[in-house]
């Protein structure tokens, strides 16, 4: 820009293109798409939001359960197969025989007739079959035709689970926990950013519009909250026992209790930047002619604030909401990492890291993965915010 102000020779066509009228949103959109990193960030965020929304679908497709523990298969490496214990397999077969006695009988007869299994007693044929390695069982079953074999194949398929990203300290699948963690972390991040910007919007608008004593009071509050070391205070609040707080006892025992508490704590300390920003814009808007016009026409305060002022602060707020999501995800992770945020068994990126600390030298992958996801999401939100800032800033409009 300012440093390479070389004269560029342009054709008449280009000139006409530049001088053509463009609506504001088109300018903003074009400028946004020129910011390559912001576009990449948007793509990454869309992907994560998609994953978060589709988490139950992903779980049902892969057949994995985010909370199913398996004490025998803790800290499995990446891309490992885990086989269900023999006891559990035999229990499943017993169930199969009990529920579908006819199918089981015909299958048994066929297996023995074809000589695929050599059980000591004929009624043990199916148990003998599943006692083998699941892959081998499936191979044998594929040689048998008919409905019963297909039915059993379905059951045998569940005997072996594939853990693309290994298992964690309780033998739970890391991949599906990361997927559900995306849901929790992104959800908390977005919720906190939206809620705190709403509060900031209200406080900033009231302070800026009314001025005087209210302004001084609210701004002192904002300033002092901004200058505090937030984390120690958050730790104190996070450690509160809800049983001792009058009126909040009903939350105790709710499985999402830790999430509500975390969102509350984060919102409490993140509305200040938005409040300052909104107050600043409202202060300058207050002196503008269109506000005077609205006042002259007899509009009351709420109409002026909501109808005439808010549309003008939405754009800068969008930027701070975007940046706020990234920051909230970081805070959520930090508090969960200290063991004060979202509690087990609900997975979040932060508490997965907290648990990974215990055996971080033996299973470093458990610590690396959630961190990478936190990093990728946060940096995407930061770049997106930067891109939006560039795109909607009237001073930066390049035509």
């Amino acid at each position: 820009m300012s440093t390479n102000e070389k004269t560029k020779v342009i054709t008449a066509e280009q000139r006409a293109e530049m001088e053509r009228f463009q609506p504001m949103w088109k300018i903003v959109l074009t400028q946004f798409f020129e910011h390559r990193m912001a576009v990449i960030g948007l793509a990454v965020i869309s992907f994560f939001i998609f994953v978060a929304l589709m988490a139950p679908v992903i779980a049902s497709i892969t057949g994995l359960d985010s909370e199913r523990q398996n004490a025998l298969n803790r800290y499995k490496p990446v891309n490992s197969y885990v086989t269900v214990s023999t006891d559990e397999r035999e229990a499943k077969v017993t169930e199969f025989i009990r529920d579908h006695a006819e199918e089981a009988n015909s299958l048994q007869a066929e297996l023995i007739a074809k000589g695929l299994v050599q059980p000591p007693r004929p009624e043990d044929a199916l148990f003998d079959l599943v006692g083998k390695d699941p892959q081998e069982t499936l191979k044998i079953l594929s040689q048998v035709n008919g409905e019963p074999a297909l039915h059993l194949t379905k059951i045998v398929n569940n005997f072996e689970s594939h853990h693309w990203l290994g298992t964690d300290e309780l033998g739970r699948d890391v991949f599906i926990r990361l997927v559900y963690g995306t849901r929790v972390s992104m959800g908390v991040g977005i919720l906190v950013a939206l809620a705190s910007s709403l509060i900031g919007l209200l406080i900033g608008a009231v302070a800026g519009y009314y001025g005087g004593f209210i302004d001084t009071l609210l701004m002192r509050l904002t300033d002092s909250l901004l200058s505090l070391p937030i984390l120690p205070i958050q730790i104190v609040i996070a450690a509160i026992d809800l049983n001792k707080v009058p009126g909040l006892g009903f939350l105790v025992g709710d499985e999402n209790q830790s999430i509500y508490k975390l969102v509350f704590i984060l919102v409490l300390f993140s509305w200040m930047t938005v409040a300052l920003l909104v107050r600043g814009s409202i202060l300058s808007l207050r002196e503008r002619e269109f506000i005077l016009a609205a006042k002259t026409l007899g509009a009351n305060d709420s109409t002026i604030i909501f109808r005439h002022m808010f549309p003008n602060v939405v754009a800068p707020m969008l930027v701070s909401v975007t940046l706020g999501v990234g920051e909230s995800i970081l805070w959520e992770a930090a508090l969960s990492f200290l063991g004060l945020g979202i509690q087990q068994p609900t997975p979040s990126w932060g508490n997965m890291l907290f648990n990974a600390q215990d055996l971080m030298t033996e299973a470093p992958f458990l610590a690396i993965l959630p961190g990478i996801l936190i990093f990728a999401t946060t940096i995407s939100f930061n770049y997106l915010g930067d891109g939006l800032q560039d795109a909607i800033d009237p001073k930066a409009i390049r035509r």
Partner: protein, 323 residues
């Protein structure tokens, strides 16, 4: 100027008193009190004993009465006794404060030393490849979770390469009087925590330096200075950087609070014996006296540094006058 400082000092004291009350009442809401812990450790305790103990410790009184009692003992110079460390709080705080001071100072220096030159360089070459790289470095800094960075540093430099210790403050048993060895030992333990604590502020400072410098170099007086025939360095440092300093000091002042928040996490991950870890441990461990004192000291420190930074504005920017 003096009246301004006095007014700000009074404000700071008021904020600290208010916060200490808020914190005190919040802590009464935390699970477990001293008597409950005694009940757990002594199965023979009777309910009469419990009631007597509660009266003895004043736990049966409302929180504001207990707060005033607590303030009275603090004012008398008695900071109380730590339940976990089994020593008076006053003896506990000194070395921990010093440790945190070393850590924060080292990381503040490191972040300024890295971010200011890099930021100025990228502001003078906007749009270049180096600028993009610096930008990414800065964005990564503000986006990386500091505790994760800490874990990665430990994995790389102390588990895999074994260059630096994984955690702690100094080698146990080292002679504190042999100054050079002691200094060397302490420095070794400081490297990883400092790096992990600094990276976030490096990112933030970098972005601010860059935009402040860009803004400053766009001003008319820069063109005037160039037109006068001043040397390049003089224009950059004397005219550009001098004006970019003002927003920089703002962010530097605000960074004390985030630096302290970061210190809580960093010290916890590295088991570094500072105030941040003390705040965390005492709150989690229900060590009431330590929690209150360390909390108040940390808040007071942050607020005091903010005040110092505010006063520094006046020095850097002659346009600001305090009335």
């Amino acid at each position: 100027m003096t009246t301004y400082i006095i007014r700000r000092l009074i404000q700071t004291v008021v904020v600290i008193v208010l916060l200490s009350y808020v914190c005190f009442s919040l802590m009464t809401l935390m699970p477990g009190d001293p008597v409950e812990l005694m009940i757990q450790s002594n199965p023979k305790i009777t309910s009469e004993d419990v009631a007597r103990l509660r009266t003895l410790y004043g736990l049966d009184q409302p929180s504001y009465v207990r707060y005033f009692n607590w303030v009275k003992t603090i004012a008398a110079g008695d900071l109380g006794y730590s339940r976990t460390y089994r020593i008076p709080v006053s003896e506990l705080m000194g070395p921990k404060l010093l440790n945190t001071f070393y850590l924060s100072l080292a990381s503040l220096l490191l972040s300024i030393l890295i971010s200011v030159p890099l930021g100025i360089y990228s502001a003078l070459h906007p749009g270049s490849k180096a600028d993009n790289a610096v930008n990414f470095f800065a964005f990564a800094g503000i986006s990386v979770p500091s505790f994760w960075l800490a874990i990665m540093l430990i994995l790389t430099f102390s588990v895999y390469y074994k260059i630096f210790p994984a955690g702690g403050t100094f080698t146990i048993g080292i002679d504190e009087n042999q100054s050079w060895d002691y200094f060397w030992d302490r420095s070794k333990y400081l490297v990883l925590p400092t790096v992990s604590l600094s990276y976030q502020s490096i990112g933030r400072f970098l972005r601010f330096t860059r935009s402040a410098m860009l803004e400053a170099m766009r001003n008319d007086y820069i063109r005037t200075a160039k037109a006068k025939g001043l040397s390049y360095t003089r224009v950059i440092w004397g005219h550009g950087f001098r004006n970019a300093l003002i927003p920089l000091i703002t962010i530097l002042a605000l960074s004390f609070s985030s630096l302290f928040s970061g210190a809580v996490i960093t010290e916890t991950v590295f088991a570094y014996q500072g105030v941040g870890k003390l705040v965390y441990d005492s709150i989690i461990g229900n060590d009431f006296n330590v929690a209150m004192v360390s909390f108040i000291i940390s808040v007071a420190m942050v607020l005091l540094f903010n005040l110092i930074a505010d006063i520094l504005y006046g020095v850097v920017d002659p346009r600001i006058s305090y009335k």
